[in-house]
């Protein structure tokens, strides 16, 4: 009996796991209430919407666009470098200096995005005046950009060359330039090099113009400062995004290769020659384009240079705060027109909640989980939809939040591209919010 008791108790204890859920046979054997879902388009809750420009200038952006799309845009990128000392101390502690003799140089650009189906994609390098700065515009730099290029690098041709994957060569380029890990390099007859970078999200390219002293003379008068511009050309849709981020290590740069002589003070030994190189720090980068971004109007502008953002205020109706659960909220925007340009210049629009409504200077919320993005495709005038579900759910649950958000390009001021949407001042095309929500389940009722 004792064993029997233990057996039975074991069976009972073993059955202590519950499983009370079965497929519902409705309506006869299901709860009386059902999960009721509603779908509504709120056409007038977005109001007091405006656009403001001037958040990020092109020279503060993390990338630059070089593009040449006839009839649409001609965008040119450039950068300037700091000085390079033309004399060096040959030995440590020695107060005497010797001059350096520059014999060649390389100019590097990181291509972050490029049209992958275009052919004959070329980068053309121009020497610009070292005075180029934020006041330089398309017109003022046009004579320099229309001069004969210092060098031309054909990206398409380089990509077609056999890759050099020898570890010794690949790692040497890694160590010299301190770039991200690369898997191969390609070199053309002129000595221009293309590095293929390993990037989890995409494949970026680093291109190196090889320049001799005739192409890139070291300017003693300018204390070694230099300025370089680049244009892009292709059979069609010529457009590339060039890195310009110090943090990301994508800044364009020039490396001067030189040698100098250590004079021998003991007559028994000959003078020795030292080979070295130097990368001056970048002073400035920018891109200029024509035609310039048009001025703001009554529509909602997002993007452009300097960057424009749109502030949209949402008058959330009371019922969205009470006894409902938002399962989807979609912002519906009607473009004024399609964004012209090269297809590879499609960009993202980022909607972010603001922490306080201070108009154009509204601080952005640090809660990135409430942000939403969508991609704006070049040449498409389709209605743009941005999923704001997380944002509207947060507003629904927390009445202390500011029910407004800012839309901006991501990343900002890196391109000529700008999107314009109809605002609330255009009643037929104003922004709307399409909300799908679930009504509170009536527990306890039959």
């Amino acid at each position: 009996m004792r064993r029997l008791v233990w057996l039975v108790l074991l069976v009972v204890v073993g059955a202590c796991t519950e499983n009370a859920t079965s497929p519902g046979v409705c309506p006869n054997f299901c709860p009386g209430d059902t999960i009721a879902i509603r779908d509504t388009i709120l056409t007038t809750i977005i109001d007091r919407d405006s656009s403001f420009r001037g958040y990020v200038p092109s020279y503060g952006a993390e990338a630059m666009t070089a593009a040449d799309v006839p009839g649409v845009v001609d965008s040119r990128a450039f950068f300037t470098t700091d000085t390079v000392l033309r004399r060096v101390s040959p030995t440590v502690g020695d107060t005497t200096t010797v001059p350096i003799n520059v014999d060649s140089s390389r100019v590097r650009f990181i291509i972050g995005r490029r049209p992958k189906n275009t052919t004959n994609l070329q980068l053309r390098l121009y020497r610009l005046p070292v005075t180029a700065d934020s006041t330089s515009d398309f017109a003022s730099l046009d004579p320099d950009f229309t001069a004969t290029p210092v060098a031309t690098l054909n990206v398409t041709d380089l990509l077609a060359l056999p890759a050099i994957t020898d570890t010794q060569v690949v790692r040497r380029w890694d160590s010299i330039w301190g770039t991200q890990s690369i898997d191969s390099i390609r070199m053309d007859a002129a000595g221009h090099v293309l590095q293929m970078h390993i990037n989890p999200s995409d494949t970026t390219l680093a291109v190196y113009f090889k320049l001799d002293t005739l192409q890139a003379p070291f300017s003693v008068a300018d204390s070694g400062r230099s300025a370089w511009g680049v244009r892009v050309a292709a059979d069609s849709f010529a457009s590339v995004i060039l890195g310009a981020s110090n943090q990301g290590g994508t800044m364009p740069l020039i490396r001067w290769f030189y040698h100098y002589t250590i004079p021998d003070t003991v007559s028994a030994t000959p003078d020795s020659v030292v080979i070295a190189n130097r990368v001056p720090s970048a002073r400035f980068h920018n891109f200029v384009f024509n035609p310039p971004t048009p001025p703001l109007d009554s529509n909602l502008a997002v993007g452009g240079v300097p960057s424009a953002r749109a502030l949209l205020r949402v008058a959330l109706p009371a019922f969205l705060h009470d006894s409902i659960d938002v399962v989807r909220a979609t912002l519906v925007l009607v473009p004024v027109n399609a964004v012209p340009g090269a297809p590879s210049d499609s960009f993202q629009v980022l909607a972010r909640v603001i922490a306080a409504d201070l108009g154009a200077k509204s601080p952005l919320s640090q809660n990135s989980g409430l942000s939403a993005t969508t991609t704006i495709h070049i040449g498409s005038a389709d209605t743009v939809r941005i999923e704001l579900t997380a944002m509207v759910r947060a507003w629904s649950l927390d009445t202390t939040l500011v029910t407004a958000f800012i839309m901006g390009q991501s990343p900002e001021a890196t391109s000529y591209t700008e999107m314009r949407f109809y605002s609330s001042r255009a009643p037929a095309f104003r922004p709307t919010l399409h909300v799908t929500y679930v009504k509170r389940f009536r527990f306890g009722e039959l």
């Binding site: 029997l4 057996l7 059955a15 299901c30 799908t436 306890g444």
Partner: protein
């Protein structure tokens, strides 16, 4: 606590039961609740100890540890307590759609003791309505002009419990009267979840707790016709069952009155048989469209010495909620009892098989029952 040695027959039966239960995969067996209660107030509990349950419920009005009637408490001669537990496996067949469920319940507990030589009081709880269920509903709905597959899951976990304070008095050597006050209480944790196949839609989940409240009263008589024959009659009435969510009453539902009668015959020193009938007017629950009055019967026997009896029983009747005609329930049960520690303790085990049938649904339930009674 010393435990006496049982005879070989008991061990053999017990081992057979255990082997059967452990050899059968759990998904062939099912739980105590019923799908028939989902669309109503719940599944009525069985106010029976393991002893009464294994006799089909027939011994309930004559068993002091079954919370069915109060008058039988007058038989208690010393402070005693009893607890009942059951593990059930349930298979549901709904129009060819089959599922398997399981659950464990402690459906009854009674503590009782005499106040005077003629008056006995008792307290305890039992399950009045079981409200534990879960349903998964898959459907396709039109959202934003697109057919979206959805999955709803509605889960309710809890019960309406019946807290009882009862007093029984022996009015005469052959007549005992019992009265009981009942407080209906308890809650269910409820969750309703809808998930979408399209990840653009967020899964929505609503959780809440429904609290139930009500009061009731019961009265019963126990009359010894002869020294071997007893008859019992009982009556119970309850107030409306209130359902509160967040402190706000969302529903008030009528509860049925209950009438019942039973007879027990001691056929010698080592055998007794009993039978009961009961009625409940569930049809008075206005808020439930398909509520039916129910009639239930039971018949059972207890054979063997009082220290280690074998019990058998059968029951039948109706369930209160179901589409069309009232669903029916038929059950068979068997069990063993064993006293130990010189009669200060008793262990009861049992096995019950129920079959429920209604329009569009049938259920088969196996329940393993274990009861412990102690008289310190």
């Amino acid at each position: 606590m010393a435990m006496g040695r049982l005879g070989g027959w008991a061990v053999r039966v017990g081992v057979l039961v255990a082997v059967f239960l452990t050899a059968q995969p759990p998904n062939r067996l099912t739980a105590q609740d019923s799908q028939f209660g989902i669309r109503g107030l719940g599944t009525p509990g069985k106010w029976e100890s393991v002893r009464a349950r294994t006799t089909g419920g027939a011994f309930a009005p004559f068993d002091a540890f079954s919370p069915l009637t109060d008058a039988v408490l007058a038989d208690v001669r010393r402070m005693s307590a009893s607890v009942t537990s059951g593990a059930s496996w349930r298979s549901v067949d709904a129009g060819g759609l089959q599922s398997t469920l399981r659950g464990t319940r402690f459906p009854a507990m009674v503590i009782t003791g005499p106040v005077t030589r003629r008056i006995v009081v008792a307290g305890g709880f039992t399950t009045y309505l079981d409200r534990s269920f879960g349903v998964v509903i898959q459907d396709t709905i039109d959202l934003r002009g697109v057919q979206q597959p959805i999955t709803d899951q509605i889960i309710s976990d809890g019960a309406v419990s019946d807290l009882r304070v009862a007093v029984a008095a022996r009015l005469h050597n052959r007549l005992a009267l019992g009265l009981g006050l009942h407080r209906l209480t308890g809650s269910t944790r409820v969750v309703a979840t809808r998930s979408f196949a399209d990840s653009s839609y967020r899964t929505t989940t609503a959780r809440d707790e429904v609290a139930y409240g009500g009061v009731g009263g019961s009265a019963s008589l126990l009359f010894d016709v002869t020294s071997d024959v007893r008859v019992a009659g009982w009556f119970r009435s309850d107030s409306k069952l209130r359902a509160d969510v967040g402190g706000i009453t969302v529903a008030e539902n009528d509860l049925p009155r209950m009438y019942g009668a039973g007879v027990q015959w001691r056929a010698g020193a080592q055998a007794s048989v009993a039978g009961t009938v009961s009625w409940r007017n569930w049809g008075a629950v206005q808020s439930v469209a398909n509520a039916h009055d129910t009639f239930n019967w039971s018949f059972g026997a207890e054979i063997g010495s009082p220290g280690s009896p074998l019990r058998l029983g059968a029951r039948g009747g109706q369930l209160p909620f179901g589409v069309g005609k009232a669903p029916t329930e038929v059950g068979y049960s068997a069990g063993l009892g064993r006293q130990f520690s010189g009669g200060r303790g008793r262990l009861d085990i049992g096995l019950e098989r129920l079959q429920r049938r209604g329009l569009g649904l049938s259920e088969r339930v196996w329940t393993v029952l274990v009861g412990l009674t102690v008289r310190p």
